[in-house]
């Protein structure tokens, strides 16, 4: 804009306003460099703030999901270990049953086998009562109650019945939950009543505990035919155990895959946040230098204008 006539005040006002402009640019850069953030208020860039809020919310949620996944992985690993040990016991019991069905035993040998089966039963009950982080993991929701309790030859399951909701789940993604437990009664069965016989009868739910109880009683009765039938029971139980272990294995896989995905995605999101929010320090500092130089220049010009006047040249 070319003005034909300039008043004395105008030169000064204009000079002052240029100085002010430089100062306000410097102030803005100062804030950005000190905080390291480009956006400090919604009006700085509303669209990018919206993006930022969305991404940080997702990252926070992913952190929570990861925590859940870790808890799930730990517990499933504990359950898996317990089932592996139970399978070893089941193998040993099967061997004993085969020996018992052999027919060449005397009553002392039957008695000895029965005693060993009894001790195996005790181990299975103990493994069924596995606890992790202060919880009985096979009790469904009743994790403060020992899963199995023994009274005489009865072994009662005290957890949440498998016919009711017993699965404890963790949320690992927006609409995805994963169950982390298996039901103790489904896994190992239950014994609610026994009759010594012969023939021995056991009431309850089929499972390794049921089978071992029956096996023990049959051995005590030296009932070879019953013992032979018990071998099949134990084989079925082993399949049940393997099936449950496979289910847990699949869930463990799912959790680990999800965790890997979360970790990979977190890297991407962190980069996105940085792009939106972080100040490029070198750029900001060099822009700051630029503005400082222009600030000093405008101060210099202003001071010269203020000092120059016609009065200086008259006489």
């Amino acid at each position: 804009m070319s003005i034909s006539r300039v008043s004395s005040n105008y030169l000064v006002e204009q000079g002052v306003s240029y100085v002010q402009n430089s100062m306000s640019m410097i102030s803005k850069l100062q804030e950005q460099i000190a905080t390291g953030q480009q956006i400090s208020a919604p009006s700085d860039d509303p669209a990018r703030l919206a993006q930022l809020l969305r991404i940080t919310k997702e990252m926070n949620q992913d952190d929570v999901y990861e925590k859940n996944i870790d808890a799930g992985i730990s517990e499933i690993s504990a359950a898996d270990g317990a089932i592996t040990s139970i399978l070893e016991v089941a193998n040993r019991a099967r061997e004993l049953a085969i020996r018992g069905a052999n027919g060449t035993q005397g009553s002392e040998q039957f008695y000895a086998l029965a005693r060993e089966v009894d001790s195996l039963l005790g181990q299975v009950v103990q493994l069924g009562n596995t606890s992790y982080a202060g919880r009985y993991i096979f009790s469904g929701f009743r994790t403060n109650t020992p899963t199995f309790s023994v009274a005489g030859s009865n072994v009662t399951y005290n957890g949440t019945p498998p016919t009711s909701g017993y699965q404890r789940t963790v949320q690992v993604a927006k609409n995805t939950t994963v169950a982390i437990n298996v039901n103790g009664r489904d896994l190992l069965g239950e014994v609610t009543a026994t009759a010594a016989g012969p023939p021995a009868t056991v009431t309850g739910q089929a499972g390794l505990i049921y089978s071992l109880t029956k096996l023990k009683l049959d051995l005590e009765n030296s009932d070879i035919d019953a013992v032979r039938a018990d071998i099949d029971l134990i084989t079925t139980d082993q399949n049940t155990l393997l099936k449950n272990q496979a289910t847990l294995g699949a869930r463990l896989n799912q959790l680990e895959l999800t965790k890997n995905r979360i970790e990979d995605w977190r890297i991407v999101q962190t980069k996105q946040v940085s792009q939106i929010q972080d100040v490029d320090m070198s750029e900001a500092i060099s822009t700051l230098n630029l503005h400082q130089t222009s600030y000093q220049a405008s101060l210099g010009v202003l001071s010269r204008i203020l000092q120059t006047s016609l009065v200086n040249f008259l006489r």
Partner: protein, 534 residues
């Protein structure tokens, strides 16, 4: 050859007039220089013209050289001023002050909202749901229960703190109808007082200008002062100025006459709108009403609608409640809607009814001790304010202190009727399924919020605020550039340039010296004539 008969001391008078003219010019330059830094001053110029030539045109004619000049005389002192520029500057300043008032206030609102930040509402919501997730994994852990209910409390206090701060901003602008005497300390009230003072002063000046004008002089300094007052007035409110044929002005607001000539016809009045106190959280009128002193404003009839510019217009707009614009009230309402949605769902889940009814086959919810929630004790996490509460609900919510003090009362578990005796009813220990549902609210689309999740709704509200503020700021910047440009042009017309004045000063000084020299020379001639005769 004709003889022109000159009076003897003819030349003396001409020289004298020369001296006077130059002296007046110097005085005017003196005035200009003294006022170089005066706000609103228009530089003044002496208008010189030639004196009436001698002899005057008559019927008797002289066969002579013709008319002789009679020196110079001062026609008047005029100011360099452009009324059109003034009018343009008034219009643009009016718009500028409006946008400045709006953007300054909205920036304060942004400071209160404080996003992005760890202490804002978005983070508080996230932390609350995080605590719910943790609780759902460990519902039998009292420490985790305590953390959860404390995060619930923190969520409430964060919302309330923001709402209270926003209300404070609104009160400082347009007063609070529920608290007496806040209007008198508000910016709107002060602006109205300033406007009324300006109107009074303009009327007074009009009277003085008429008196001076009537005596034939140019009331330059009074005119400058009046122009300044008119500009100050237009910064505050969108009045219009009409010039009459006699140079008098009237000031009008819309069609309402405020000042006519020397007469102050009417002033502005501002009152609290008592129609705003009501329990309906959606409707809340503008807290302050502006009208004329002669017909005081009421909710039904006021001038708020025609005050669309200037600082007062901006304050009333951002402190008011116009739908579709970003106001303090609209931000508070967004927070209110959001919290009410959160609290309703959370309460429903805690009680196990409404939207919180457990899925089949579960028929209820239970706390840590296996008890169902009890009405009046722990059926709610947040108590809403009672009916008839005069404010937005957000101000009246409280946390259920029974649950706060006894976190075992949080109903994390389901009641399972399929579990047979003797374990009938309760699953204990790790049942956190009810709280897991609460955690999932974070990703649920809420019908009451337009099918958005909580945080998406909040994000939209904040983005709207940011955009509104940005628009006001940008408008203000643009208008500032326009005003600066117009001001510069005005300065070029009416501003004093010291160098120019210096040069003129020398010019008129030399003129004065020359006239004095002429006087001395004529005096010598006279002496010669007298001495020759005597």
């Amino acid at each position: 050859m004709g003889l022109l008969r000159l009076p003897s001391f003819f030349g003396y008078y001409n020289a004298h007039r020369g001296l006077l003219s130059n002296q007046m010019a110097l005085e005017t330059i003196n005035h200009n220089i003294a006022n170089v830094n005066t706000e609103g001053y228009s530089r003044q110029r002496v208008d010189l013209t030639t004196g009436t030539p001698y002899p005057p045109a008559t019927m008797s004619n002289f066969d002579d050289a013709g008319q002789l000049g009679q020196g110079s005389r001062v026609l008047g002192v005029t100011r360099s001023h452009d009324n059109l520029l003034d009018a343009q500057i008034r219009t643009q300043s009016n718009l500028l002050e409006y946008q400045t008032a709006v953007s300054d206030t909205l920036k304060q609102v942004e400071d209160v909202i404080g996003e992005p930040s760890e202490f804002g509402i978005d983070t508080a919501i996230t932390k609350f749901f995080d605590a719910a997730h943790t609780l759902s994994l460990h519902p039998d852990d009292m420490a985790i229960r305590t953390t959860f209910i404390q995060e619930a409390n923190n969520l409430l206090t964060t919302f309330q703190q923001k709402a209270n701060q926003l209300q404070d901003i609104r009160t400082s602008i347009v007063g609070d109808p529920l608290v007496a005497s806040t209007l008198d300390m508000s910016q709107s009230y002060l602006t109205v007082q300033e406007i009324n003072t300006l109107l009074e002063d303009i009327a007074t000046l009009n009277g003085q200008i008429v008196q001076v004008d009537g005596s034939g002089a140019m009331p330059n300094d009074l005119l400058d002062r009046r122009d300044q007052l008119l500009e100050e007035l237009s910064k505050r409110i969108n009045t219009t100025v009409e010039y009459s044929a006699t140079g008098q002005i009237s000031v009008k607001l819309g069609s309402n006459l405020l000042v006519q000539g020397a007469r102050l016809v009417d002033t502005l009045a501002i009152v609290t709108n008592t129609n705003t106190v009501g329990p309906d959280p959606v409707r809340d009128d503008v807290p302050a009403l502006v009208g004329l002193t002669s017909s005081p404003p009421t909710a039904a009839s006021n001038l708020n609608g025609i005050i669309t510019g200037g600082k007062l217009g901006g304050l009333l707009a951002v402190g008011g409640n116009t739908a579709g614009t970003t106001t303090i009230r609209s931000v508070m309402e967004d927070l209110d809607s959001l919290f009410r949605e959160i609290s309703t769902r959370v309460n429903d889940l805690q009680a196990g009814f409404g939207t919180g009814v457990p899925p089949a086959p579960y028929t209820g919810v239970r706390d840590l001790n296996g008890n169902a929630p009890v009405a009046g004790v722990n059926m709610q996490i947040y108590y809403p304010p009672p009916g008839g509460f005069p404010r937005l609900q957000i101000f009246g919510f409280t946390i259920n202190s029974t649950v706060l003090n006894d976190p075992a009362r949080i109903t994390a578990a389901y009641y399972d009727p399929t579990i047979p005796a003797p374990l009938a009813g309760t699953s204990s220990g790790s049942d956190g399924r009810n709280i897991a549902r609460m955690a999932q609210l974070q990703d649920t689309l809420m019908g009451g919020l337009g099918n958005l999740t909580y945080q998406e709704f909040y994000k939209n509200a904040i983005t709207n605020l940011g955009t509104g503020t940005q628009n006001a700021e940008r408008s203000a910047e643009n208008l500032q550039n326009v005003v600066d440009h117009l001001t510069q042009r005005r300065q070029s017309v009416q501003g004093v340039n010291l160098e120019e004045e210096m040069v003129d000063m020398m010019r008129f000084q030399r003129g004065f010296e020359a006239s004095a020299k002429v006087m001395a020379t004529l005096d010598e001639v006279m002496k010669t004539i007298i001495n020759t005769i005597a």
